[in-house]
Amino acid sequence: MHWLARQVLRLAVVLFCVTLLTFLIVNILPGDVATAILGGLATPEDLAGLRADLGLDRPMLVRYFDWLGSALSGDLGRSHRSGEPVAQAIADRLPVSLQLMIMAQVIAIGIAVPAALLSVRRPGGLFDRLSASTAFGFLATPSFMLGILLIYLFSVTLDLLPATGFSPMSEGLWANLESMILPALSLGLIEWTVLMRVLRSDLLTTLKEDFILLARAKGLPPWRVLLQHALRPSSFTLITVIGLNIGGLIGGAVIVEQIFALPGVGRLLLGGIFNRDLILVQGTVSFIAAGFVLVNFLVDMLYAVLDPRVRHVRFRS
């Protein structure tokens, strides 16, 4: 498990650097926090008081390690606007963001995989060209634009779904889904295009391999060749891209939560940024980055489980 140990170490180093970098950005960059919080009319005494309150008068690295110490025990500090513990604020809003991203991912994969499989059955054929053009169109549509178009279409014109607002699961599954479907579509309808293109391209490469010819020579019907022989060895880039694209999805979620007024982590972060809520921003950005790093770490593990060649190299004792 030599490899695993090294990966965990690498993960720890990356997490350390990520939180440190967040801390530096929030603290070094120009703009005095105390002035920002109290406004231009505050007296120097008030400003100094607040700085002491926030611990801004101590050296930066000392503050960072203080923060890191408490962060490791689950304490991300308190928002100096609302006084709410940051960890609690994130925990409250996380389910909404997670639901949004999982639904978006399900939509994306649910469209991408069948579309790619149908496309490669006849490369250059009608379905292939149609799905490629559709994908191209969606690829050129930013999520904020798609969100508005969906609102215009389904809420303003057709009046089928609510334009904004969130209904928690406690108000019933349908009400919850009704409020989440447009946000999830705004993300998923863009995400699938990337996944489809990746999978299609890898499938086409795999289908040129000799082992596919051999599978055909065994007398396997085309759909079995595609599903049993081609799909699995073609899905490794897809898995990597799904992991990497979660970053884009998080960014998209920030926007979509804002458009649809969903109480998620992204909106919490935006609020923090607009209010210059230093501790809240520091905590939220670190949390998001750490989550993203962890997901990619897991994807990397999954890779080793799915690809026997990688497993062989990595888990040889």
Binding site: D210, F211, L214, A215, A217, G219, H229, R232, R309
Partner: protein
């Protein structure tokens, strides 16, 4: 004897190919990869198809069994009969059945011809389940037996491994096990040892030959190595620029080639029996561009015997005493008179 390639033998050949053609549409026009090749192959015999890269030998054989075609933009023509049955006329389903039951294939590189993410036992058993109706347990048992037969030690353990865990020679043995699993009548070996070392090549060729004899299969052995063909084939077909230029029993080809290309190729080979620094008789020039072929014999520009006729007119494969050659100025005239 040379009956296997002369055609029209009583009882009928196992495989009969007439005027096979494969063309690819390219930016520069139609590329005739295979241009009107005909041959017969009888049960139990080995036909060596010899040619350089681009001679069309692999494309020819793959087109016969439908592995070139849909999707690749290839245009395939000609008639193929296996056991008297018109293969090209079969429905897709019946054709797949024929392919799975009656034809086995071994490709050049066992690294790429085995599925990297599927266990070896399953890859062998797959064809058995599909074409011989075995259930999973029976197929797995048979897969282990086949591994024993192709000379793989610890067959049970190997059956549950993935291809990358085996050496190159072992992988090719697995590929042979897959090819012979359904007791095919025809075994196609497409450069089966080109990716292997000489000492391993020897073992693999021995194995192929043993299986072919034991099972009475017909075999097509595609190779660029005249040495490999000399030791293993009953008959040889030499291909150049998409055409069959000479066909004969192996000994006749090596003793008295009729087509100047065959002769030139044989003479250009360095041999262990020659002393060091023996000057090789190189063939000048290089093979023609298949998309821009002019009139006349494709080999004419490189041929020492060429005449005006060779550049103006295309020689057809003529048959003479059981052997065929496509040349206006055949060599070794004592074996027959020129056409």
């Amino acid at each position: 004897m040379s009956g296997a390639v002369s055609g029209a033998v009583s009882g009928g050949p196992l495989l009969s190919v007439r005027d096979a053609r494969v063309g690819f549409g390219t930016v520069r026009g139609l590329l005739r990869a295979v241009d009107g090749v005909s041959f017969d192959l009888e049960a139990g015999r080995t036909l060596g198809i010899v040619g350089e890269s681009g001679s069309g030998k692999s494309v020819l054989v793959r087109s016969l069994i439908g592995l070139v075609g849909s999707g690749s933009g290839a245009i395939v023509g000609g008639e193929v009969r296996l056991d008297g049955q018109d293969v090209r006329g079969l429905s897709a389903k019946n054709f797949r059945q024929l392919l799975g039951r009656d034809i086995g294939i071994v490709f050049q590189d066992p690294m790429t011809s085995l599925n990297p993410v599927m266990k070896i036992g399953r890859q062998i058993g797959e064809g058995l389940r599909l074409n011989r109706g075995l259930n999973a347990t029976a197929a797995a048992r048979r897969a282990v037996e086949l591994l024993v037969e192709v000379g793989i030690p610890e067959p049970e353990r190997r059956a549950s491994q993935y291809p990358h865990e085996l050496s190159g020679g072992m992988r090719q043995r697995v590929a042979i096990a897959i090819a012979i699993a359904c007791e095919p009548k025809l075994l196609i070996a497409d450069e089966p040892t080109t990716a292997l070392d000489v000492t391993v090549q020897r073992q693999i060729l021995d194995l192929l030959q043993r299986e072919q004899r034991q099972r009475g299969m017909a075999m097509i052995l595609i190779t660029h190595d005249l040495g490999v063909a000399a030791g293993r084939a009953d008959d040889i077909m030499v291909m150049y620029a998409g055409r069959a230029v000479e066909m004969a029993a192996t000994r006749e080809i090596f003793r008295g080639p009729r087509m100047p290309y065959t002769e030139a190729l044989l003479r250009s080979l360095p041999r262990l029996s020659d002393p060091t620094h023996t000057r090789l008789s190189a063939i000048p020039g290089r093979p023609p561009d298949l998309a821009r072929r002019g009139t006349g014999c494709s080999f004419a520009p490189r041929c020492t015997y060429r005449s005006e006729r060779c550049e103006a007119e295309e020689p057809v494969l003529s048959r003479e005493g059981g052997r065929g050659f496509a040349c206006f100025h055949p060599l070794n005239a004592s074996a027959g008179t020129s056409a």
